[in-house]
């Protein structure tokens, strides 16, 4: 009984987590982070090189994302 109740509450917590709202910046950061880490691990690199690659890719993702956002700003109204 207790285990089934905890399973239901865990499922409800999961659904609540899915419905969480993200700001544009949060979505950008999550996207950049996940893809950077994935690309970093997909290639054949030494651990130190891998960390450098992940950080560099993450930085470029964020810079380009924010840069394109600002470039589109004059056309937004």
């Amino acid at each position: 009984m207790t285990s089934s109740t905890s399973a239901v509450s865990a499922a409800l917590a999961l659904i609540a987590l899915i419905a969480v709202k993200l700001s544009h910046l949060q979505a950008l950061v999550i996207f950049a982070l996940v893809i950077s880490v994935a690309f970093g691990f997909l290639g054949r690199r030494q651990p130190k090189e891998r960390v450098k690659y992940i950080l560099w890719t993450l930085l470029l993702f964020l810079l380009v994302g924010v840069g394109i956002g600002w470039a589109m700003y004059p056309f937004s109204r």
């Binding site: 899915i18 893809i35 994935a38 997909l42 054949r44």
Partner: protein
């Protein structure tokens, strides 16, 4: 390229076709279940990363109510979106079950979610291709 060929040990034809078939199985497995292709090759780190990456992207994309395309698309972009979404393999159906309220692209969130889902699919296809190449004996 020629140096690589000469450096490799000579492989007999049946062995070669067997390796090719195995690589195909690895590739298809990696597509159906993200990370399974790498897991079959005992590349555990990459398997976990692929599974988590595709899982997180699908989870967030479905949570943002992104558009999950179906085969009944109206134009070429819908068809391309469907192909990209199908790239997630089994996670396509997970995303379908997570999106209980259906997509909502009237807000920016839904539009972002659509991109998350498509990226998950394209990344999984890339990962499956990587596993396939690794199984064929190419440097990966």
């Amino acid at each position: 390229m020629a140096e690589e060929t000469t450096a490799q040990e000579p492989v007999s034809q049946p062995q070669n076709s067997r390796r090719e078939a195995l690589a195909l199985v690895v590739g298809v497995a990696g597509w159906l279940v993200p990370g399974l292709g790498h897991a079959l090759l005992k590349m555990w780190g990459r398997a976990v990363i692929c599974f988590l990456t595709v899982g997180v992207l699908v989870w967030v994309g479905a949570g943002m109510r992104g558009n999950l395309f179906t085969s009944r698309g109206n134009d070429a972009f819908d068809s391309l979106g469907y192909i990209a979404d199908l790239g997630t393999g089994g996670f396509y159906f997970v995303a379908r079950s997570l999106e209980t309220n259906g997509p909502d692209v009237s807000r920016a969130d839904g539009d972002y979610g659509t991109r998350f889902l498509a990226t998950a699919g394209v990344f999984n296809l890339l990962a499956a291709l990587h596993a396939y190449e690794a199984a064929r004996g190419r440097k990966a």
